[in-house]
Symmetry: D3
Subunit: 138 residues, 6 copies
């Protein structure tokens, strides 16, 4: 049994790779390279997989999952400027791909202590807009 749980957060970012020239940045990122940034309403999907608890009929303690996801990811990203407020994006470009990598790193490192091996953290998805969805297996 798998559960997909959805969370939302609003953040701003600017896409600009320090290793590239100004022209390359403008060409690669287009409007997303505008100097003062812009923003999105992101959706994070967390997919967990595990056996059913026969007594409760639940696959995961939802309150525990919410606590972990909020503490590790949502509080750090929501209503933030990703470039300025999240240390991991000091050098790394805050594309949605890297956002998924960073969210996955945070969830994985806290998962074992809270949930052990069941349920397992299977994958996450970041919906950047209605048209772009990024998925990372964990």
């Amino acid at each position: 049994m798998k559960l997909t749980r959805r969370y939302r957060f609003s953040a701003s970012h600017r896409l600009h790779a320090p290793s590239l020239s100004g022209d390359d940045n403008a060409r690669i990122y287009g409007k997303c390279n505008n100097p003062f940034g812009h923003g999105h309403d992101y959706m994070l999907e967390v997919v967990v997989r595990g056996p059913l608890n026969a007594g409760t009929g639940l696959v995961v303690d939802l309150r525990g999952l919410d606590d972990l996801v909020r503490r590790e990811v949502i509080d750090a990203f929501d209503h933030r400027n990703l470039n300025a407020d999240v240390p991991a994006f000091g050098e790394v470009v805050p594309t949605s791909e890297n956002l998924a990598v960073e969210a996955g790193r945070r969830l994985r490192s806290a998962w074992q202590k809270r949930f052990g091996d069941a349920p397992a953290l299977e994958k996450i998805r970041i919906h950047e807009t209605r048209r772009n969805i990024f998925e990372l297996s964990l």
Copy 2:
């Protein structure tokens, strides 16, 4: 080729495990343990997989699929109180996880007679709310 077909049904339920104390029920299920129950508009997704019929260009007879899903699942759950109206939930807590298990059991037992081996019934998903999606491989 896979087809995902979506169905909707509205039902009420109360989450209460007879094997647990009143305190544990309140702690585990929160507002879902309220004594008189509450309700949701559920979405059921049925995923079938099979080869294309070269003549018709179809992977499954949709009318046949609809008849089977309605007779086995939708008619039994829609506009019902799951605890009181569905025998399987006499002892079993009607969480969405158990709802998926029961819907899967009903579909599997009728599938072979109607469709044989092609198309195959691959998995089902229950969307409980916009935020919680349960998936069961069959």
Copy 3:
């Protein structure tokens, strides 16, 4: 300037008018008359209208609005059985029309004390399902 703010709640109900015969109830309400009830995920829209505060650029204090709506309506309806848990529906059939009337009555009676005349409470809408939307001017 008008603001529409959306709230969600899940509830169960049974449509049955005590003044009508069993046959009439079955004919008028159809599946909604099933004896043990069923449920929905409702959306409540609250529409307020007022001038802009020149200093803050806001038409209403959102936190104040949320507090009032949650205390007066959401806490009373969410994860409840409307027939059994809401006194107003002891004799009155909990159709979405009457749900709107009751929600409007509750909001109106608390509004003046909290907001005075600005912003004004203009109307509310109850989305029962994706297909039925009820609107009441206040």
Copy 4:
């Protein structure tokens, strides 16, 4: 006959009123007062009203409407930091209410020259998130 046409844009902002103290800003705007800003995917709805052209069966030249809205509003707001990139928000707090006022001002001032009196520009709406919708009559 009325037409509502929808446009989308992504932008970042910080809510901070220069006339208020730091404490008041934090209290009034909450997380929206975070120093480095955050962002949203906004939806703008433009409502026009007019008679049907009997020959074409159209109420407005859609291409002309799109050109005007993009040039006056979308190009100025999309993928921008509203505080830093839009002169009108140098002193004025870029709440969605003020965003609607500024968008309305821009559309009105260009409307007469392009469309004259028919169709008329009736109102606009800004959907800030799925929960907050602001409407301004023009």
Copy 5:
């Protein structure tokens, strides 16, 4: 009290005004003038307004409304080619504006016989795509 009820239908059409030249048709309707037509999934919203029936708590007999709307509009438009299958669009261009006019004409002419003066048929809306919504007061 107002009720908005939603219906869906799928249809194809070609926009081509016989009174205009080929160049004008191509310029005005763009891709919608392609000779063999194209299609949409339309949504029709019917808005009715009336007093609450104190006994039933309903503003309109939904089954009666559905019967009327399906017989007068949905059956005539759904899974049809509007130009070829609907006589009203023999000479008239099947824009969504004219679709609203024709649907309104059909509903109005059948309304009085079925519902009399209460509830009243207030307006209809045609959602052509996610971006274009047409509204006609009746």
Copy 6:
């Protein structure tokens, strides 16, 4: 890392298999067999899979992906009559299953030249309506 990118197109079609009798066509395709056709607003999802470019933080050049998908699929299907405008559907019934097969064939044949082996084209999905989703692994 996987990216799902969404595209929309509007098209009309008629489902009629030349190898079957008129009665069989009517029985199998129902209203979709109506002689003058009907239409839908389709959504195409393209799923690509590949490693992250460490410098840019991107899994695929979105502009390149959009150019390829538009040139190979969207321009050919959008605002078209699939039976009359797309040569592949001269003999083949334009069901959504066959639409997926044809879109997949077009994307695969252009993919290698533009993207080589990374990212890989993993699968596509056609959303025919809100209820039917077809998926083809590539």
